[in-house]
């Protein structure tokens, strides 16, 4: 099993940072790395809504909205908040766990608009991992492949 726990000291520092810089950094990174692969999806139901991703063990909260041109940081009250540990988010991203499984076992919490949450989940599930990997910068794609194969 992968050891993906973060050192408590690091989590301690991260959790004290204000939310705005990480949200901005997330949007910039996601737009650069992921948007080329994601922009072909049908985002219609998701545009203009507000999202929060809470990485519990890091005390990190990423808040953003989705526009026609990508992700943008946002500080308004989120329509949908997804919370889990860093390790569980990585398991989800690498397709090694099913969100319902994590939800049943209380490791994943979804709050807010349930229908929006389900739409996001189904949209991402329908995404072909090969296509995403193909559009990532090579070192990142290699790291992701290693993670998925573990």
């Amino acid at each position: 099993m992968l050891n993906l726990a973060f050192p408590p000291q690091l989590a301690n520092v991260v959790s004290r940072l204000p939310a705005a810089p990480p949200s901005l950094a997330f949007s910039v990174m996601a737009n650069r790395l992921l948007w080329p692969a994601l922009k072909t999806l049908d985002w219609q139901a998701l545009v203009g809504r507000r999202y929060a991703i809470r990485v519990k063990d890091l005390g990190l909260s990423l808040r953003f909205t989705v526009t026609q041109r990508g992700f943008a940081p946002d500080s308004g009250a989120p329509d949908l908040t997804i919370s889990a540990s860093a390790r569980d988010f990585l398991l989800l991203l690498s397709r090694r766990e099913d969100p319902d499984t994590l939800f049943f076992s209380r490791r994943l919490v979804s709050e807010g608009d349930t229908e929006l949450g389900l739409t996001v989940k189904n949209l991402l599930d329908a995404l072909d991992p090969e296509q995403v990997l193909g559009r990532l910068p090579t070192p990142l794609a290699r790291a992701a492949q290693r993670l998925m194969a573990t």
Partner: protein, 333 residues
């Protein structure tokens, strides 16, 4: 080919996961309420369905289309249109529940293979044979209400292939007739293609626990370490006579690995895995376990024993605290 493995696909990625891990066939739905998993963002448009069929057929596997809801009078053409598209695409079978739609399919597309859906709620060989006689159905999926001896009795008195559910979420045993979701939300699987529509579901983390509500009705409150379940009325805890408990059904998953040798002996044609609403990771994990189990029972039925690792893997994926053999294994009739 007894004990064909039939796996769920809510997306093209799931379909490929099922095929790659050893499914003999997958079942899917179109992107509307003509199937009983009409969730936002799930299911196949025509191009995706065509690609899924190509992928499966190239590998010698089959694709079944679930058209298992009941057509509504003002949108009848949506259902007949779906049958037409299924025939045009070359689906290996359509899974139907409504007799009117079967009649349409037989008349318009006599070459199209018909399966009777679990939602058709046919529990006796008389009912199954009725569908055979009138619509030429080739296979029936039996509701999860019969014990195995009762299933065997059906198999012995019909030429129709019999398919059983093997694993996954379990309904309160009135499949095809349940209106509990409608009672709360106005929508149920048979009419709207969805049980507990997401727009009516609310999850709230409170100091007393995680609460699930359906259209404002409190379904359950989960303590900190309790496993959660799907927000359906049948699996809620309610106050009855001063006590709070699962007044209708406990959230458990069906898991019939133990019964595989008997199912093989009885002559069950296919085992169905529930879960088109689940992710590709679930489909891959469940398909892998069931492929290994079915191969093993076919090799040596008498010596078959489910590997503890299989059970552990399946338990991890389950809704609720435990799994059950369901009605298949009950002493009373």
């Amino acid at each position: 080919m007894p004990l064909d493995l039939i796996c769920p696909a809510g997306s093209l990625v799931s379909l490929k996961a099922a095929i790659d891990h050893g499914a003999d066939a997958v079942y899917m739905g179109f992107r509307d309420n003509t199937n009983a998993r009409a969730f936002p963002g799930l299911n196949f448009d025509e191009a995706q369905a065509a690609e899924g069929l190509r992928y499966a057929h190239e590998r010698g596997r089959r694709v079944l289309l679930a058209l298992n809801t009941y057509p509504q009078p003002d949108t009848w053409s949506r259902w007949t249109g779906a049958v037409d598209r299924a025939a045009k695409l070359g689906m290996d079978a359509v899974i139907l529940a409504d007799a009117g739609l079967m009649r349409y399919a037989v008349k318009q597309h006599p070459q199209l293979r018909l399966h009777l859906s679990v939602q058709g709620s046919a529990t006796s060989y008389e009912a199954v044979n009725f569908y055979r006689e009138h619509f030429g159905i080739q296979r029936a999926v039996l509701p999860r209400v019969l014990s195995l001896p009762q299933v065997e009795n059906v198999v012995q008195h019909t030429d129709v292939e019999i398919e059983l559910f093997g694993f996954g979420g379990l309904c309160v045993m009135v499949e095809g007739r349940c209106l509990l979701s409608s009672y709360c939300t106005g929508e149920s699987p048979n009419t709207a293609g969805v049980c507990s529509p997401a727009k009516a579901v609310q999850w709230t983390d409170t100091p007393a626990g995680l609460e699930s509500r359906l259209n404002g009705v409190l379904l359950d409150r989960y303590g900190r370490d309790e496993k959660a379940g799907y927000p359906t009325l049948c699996k809620g805890r309610f106050e009855v006579g001063g006590e709070t408990y699962y007044a209708i059904e406990e959230p458990t998953s069906l898991n019939t690995l133990d019964l595989l040798p008997e199912m093989l002996k009885i002559g069950i044609a296919a085992i169905k895995i529930e879960g088109r609403q689940r992710s590709p990771a679930y489909v891959a994990q469940v398909t892998k376990v069931w492929r290994a189990a079915i191969d093993s029972v076919k090799k040596n039925a008498d010596g078959f024993k489910p590997a503890p690792a299989w059970q552990a893997e399946l338990n991890k994926l389950s809704e609720g605290q435990s799994h059950t053999l369901g009605a298949y294994h009950r002493p009373w009739k």
